[in-house]
């Protein structure tokens, strides 16, 4: 088990390195100069030169890369070009916001979708199944950002029930925090529901076909017991993988929903940093996103055997 974890961590090193190199090179290939952006339309040639020097942009690329890597290995993510603040604390703040929204959404989606998928599988090809499957396909087909806009239009503006501006952290003020989270979470749940539901249904159908379920039935166990004790626990493991993948993808890719609801999350932070060519911040965000993706996958894989006794790590 421990050996497995260590091996997995070692295996992710080349990936992380490749991510680092790619981000570094891509950002420098992209046209646009951070110093010029800071100075704007006022023609101050000397000041731009000074800024470039301070930012270390006049050094050869390899020197810049090695300096960045060296600092990273000591846990130093550098400072933002734009406001000179250390990259890491801001990054973690923003990550907390994204993680809050995404974790709640995926959890909620799973709580709704997993049982529904199992029910659909149990009643496979009956009308209940058809209704559940068709609804989930419809939900999958609604773009989250569009449903976000519609929610704002209806509940934020027309009805005025929910705040559409700003953000309050759950840890600062629980009730107000919840008010701010309702709409983004609703939009994300709707978007992710379908994928999880289909996986849960497919996995359950797969399990129900296996011999031991037939055995269990033959032994005269009640249908409820068969489902609860034998079918569902084994069907959950593959679904967990999909939940993990969804979580991993959303942690890095919630930028659209953050834009719609003006949440100060990581995706928004990344877009802002890219448009102001804040290289250290972009690089930091990318590494954090890649790391969280790898970690979520690792944790999912570690949890897998808990739900599927056939798998041993």
């Amino acid at each position: 088990m421990l050996r497995y974890v260590i091996l997995r961590c070692l295996a992710s090193i080349p990936t992380m390195f490749l991510v680092a190199v790619t981000v570094f090179v891509l950002m420098r290939l992209v046209p646009g100069d951070p110093a010029t952006l800071m100075v704007g339309d006022v023609t101050q040639v000397e000041r731009i030169e000074r800024l470039r020097e301070e930012m270390g942009l006049n050094d050869p690329l390899l020197v810049q890369f090695i300096a960045w890597m060296g600092a990273l290995l000591q846990g130093d993510f550098g400072t933002s070009f734009i406001n000179g603040a250390p990259v890491l604390p801001t990054l973690l703040d923003r990550f907390a916001v994204t993680a809050q929204v995404v974790a709640i959404s995926v959890l909620l989606a799973a709580v709704i979708a997993v049982p529904l998928g199992m029910i659909a599988a149990w009643r496979q090809n009956r009308s209940v199944d058809n209704v559940i499957v068709t609804t989930s396909i419809a939900a999958m087909s609604v773009p989250s950002f569009w449903i976000g806009l519609m929610l704002i239009l209806v509940f934020g503006i027309e009805l005025g029930w929910l705040p559409s501006v700003g953000y309050v952290s759950l840890t600062d003020d629980l009730t107000r925090g919840i008010m701010y989270l309702i709409m983004p979470v609703a939009a994300l749940v709707m978007a992710e529901l379908g994928t999880i539901l289909r996986m849960s249904r497919a996995a359950t159908i797969e399990v129900m076909r296996l011999d031991y379920i037939t055995h269990a039935r033959a032994k005269g166990l009640s249908e409820a017991d068969v489902l609860r004790r034998h079918a569902f626990p084994n069907a959950f493991a593959p679904t967990l993988t999909i939940i993990g993948l969804t979580l991993g993808a959303l942690l890095g890719g919630a930028a659209v929903i953050e834009t719609v609801f003006t949440l100060p999350g990581l995706g928004r932070h990344l877009i802002d940093a890219i448009s102001s060519r804040d290289y250290p911040v972009v690089q930091g965000v990318m590494l954090l996103v890649a790391l969280s993706y790898i970690l979520v996958n690792l944790i999912t894989d570690l949890l897998y055997p808990l739900f599927d006794p056939r798998v041993r790590l």
Binding site: D41, E46, V165
Partner: protein, 515 residues
């Protein structure tokens, strides 16, 4: 067009007159800002939003009034020597810092030393260190209430420069920095002090109770500035659409700089709209060193293909008209001469195109979507050029790339815009120059005339110079001025006394809340 402007101005004055009520102390106003502030050190951590906020906390010796004239703020008065190189400021004796210490000439000298020190990283040192023509040779304090600035040359722009909004020449208490000289927090003299900065979310400022306002009538950044509000919360709301929704649902009290189109979505019963002409100006840049555009016939063809009145009307929803001059319409130097521009003439365009040997190659118009006005201008100009037989394609870039190309002169046509400058000489210096590709117009005579206008103080002579430069510009067509921007701010109905002004900077003193 002119008529429209004055009509709306009158309407504004009337509504302002009708709404006068006695100011009340108390309450908290909530203001939307498009992005978080960059920091709290003026001129160092700066962008438009940071500037707006820090001007509530810190003040300089002089400041702009609502007509963008320089007025005293922390200074009581000033004297200029005969030769124009010595400025002697007398300080007010009733000014207190947020930490309770009185302001004296020592802090003024300390502050100026800090900003001019290259180590500080202040954004506008170029203006004062001889990089451009002006250099401050020394800032000294002969006594507790007097500060003397020695300049290398006479310069009519000096007061305007120290009143500038971008690099607030703030007088701060030395305790604003730690022992190593690192910036800690702003201890200024403003009507508000910094209360809480919740990074990425909001900044709260609260009233400074020991504030003594300057004498003189309240006028924008100058005169009697009184904080009636207990506090102001600036909330990060990147999207205007969301901000306006928040304004109408009562979550916000002020959203500044909205687009003309956005007005239509506002319910007039819930909000008050404030409009004022601004000093920013929109342009269509034409690269004179580009192969095709180096031919003046081609540039004139483009100029005469555009219906500038319709362009301004459409892009601004009828708020502003065509301004052919680099000098903003609101300026005292904007006269009948500055109003002379180009008239659309499609037959002449055809002749010019023939003379230029134009073969139908599409022109590339660079623009971006970050600034909606630039994008709109490009779309409209493309349509107008097409009607005149000039093919063109939009090249929609990301703002960073667009700006980079502007700065390096890498474009054929570019729908661009300039931020506010507070003197016509500064306006012209944005486009006129010869040693850098970011300049659009290389003409040594014009450069000499603008340089002269930057030094002398005589308004008549300056006017004559600016008029001549404008005529030359229309003749040579190095770049096309389109129209001045308008600033449109929206407030909730409970926020009273709010005023907009040409610098387009919202301020939250002399406003109060009435439920």
């Amino acid at each position: 067009m002119k008529k429209l402007i004055s009509a709306s101005t009158i309407a504004l004055i009337c509504s302002a007159g009708a709404a006068v009520a006695d100011p009340e102390f108390g309450g908290i106003a909530k203001v939307a800002m498009k992005s978080d502030i960059l920091g709290t050190q003026p001129g160092v951590d700066r962008d438009g939003i940071t500037d707006t906020l820090l001007h509530h906390i810190m003040e300089g010796l002089v400041s702009y009034d609502a007509d963008v004239n320089v007025q005293p703020l922390l200074a009581e008065s000033w004297e200029i020597s005969e030769d124009g190189t010595t400025y002697t400021f007398t300080l007010r004796d009733d000014v207190m810092f947020h930490n309770g210490e009185p302001m004296t000439s020592a802090e003024v000298v300390w502050s100026w030393d800090r900003w001019l020190d290259l180590e500080t990283g202040w954004a506008c040192t170029d203006w004062y260190d001889g990089t451009e023509d002006l250099e401050i040779l020394s800032v000294t304090a002969p006594d507790e209430s007097t500060v003397v600035f020695e300049l290398n040359v006479a310069n009519s722009l000096f007061l305007a420069q120290i009143a500038n909004i971008q690099c607030l020449t703030a007088i701060v208490h030395p305790d604003s920095v730690d022992a190593e000289g690192n910036w800690v927090e702003p201890i200024g003299t403003g009507p508000y002090m910094l209360s809480e900065w919740n990074q990425g979310v909001s900044v709260t400022i609260e009233r400074f109770d020991d504030y003594t306002p300057a004498s003189g009538p309240a006028s924008a950044y100058a005169g009697e500035r009184i904080a009636y509000l207990d506090a102001v919360e600036f909330i990060v709301v990147p999207e205007t659409a969301t901000a306006l929704a928040g304004l109408q649902s009562g979550d916000l009290d002020l959203v500044d700089q909205i687009q003309p189109n956005d007005r239509n979505e506002l319910n007039p019963d819930l909000v008050t709209i404030h409009e004022a002409p601004s000093l920013e100006w929109n342009v269509l840049l034409m690269r004179v060193d580009n192969e095709l555009m180096s031919d003046i016939n081609m540039r004139r063809a483009v100029a005469l293909a555009i219906d500038f009145a319709v362009l301004a009307q459409t892009a601004s929803s009828g708020i502003v008209g065509y301004n052919p001059s680099t000098i903003p319409e609101g300026s005292v130097y904007h006269t009948a001469v500055q109003a002379e521009g180009y008239e659309r003439d499609l037959e002449e365009v055809a002749r010019l195109l023939e003379a230029a040997g134009y073969d139908g190659t599409p022109l590339q118009i660079q623009t971006n979507r970050r600034f909606n006005n630039m994008y709109q201008n490009a779309v409209i100009i493309q349509a107008m050029l097409a009607e005149a037989g000039i093919n063109s394609e939009l090249d929609v870039l990301e703002w960073a790339a667009h700006l980079d190309n502007y700065f390096n002169g890498q474009f054929q046509l570019s729908a661009f815009g300039y931020s506010a400058r507070t003197d016509p000489a500064l306006n012209y210096r944005s486009v006129l120059g010869e040693d850098h590709p970011a300049f659009q117009w290389y003409n040594t005579d014009a450069i000499a005339m603008v340089n002269e206008a930057a030094v002398i103080g005589d308004p008549e002579r300056r006017q004559a110079l600016f008029d001549e430069v404008h005529r030359m510009m229309i003749e040579e067509v190095p770049t096309l001025n389109l129209y001045n921007a308008f600033t449109i701010d929206v407030t909730s109905n409970r926020l009273q006394g709010y005023q907009v002004w040409p610098a387009a900077k919202p301020y939250l003193w002399n406003v109060w809340i009435e439920e």
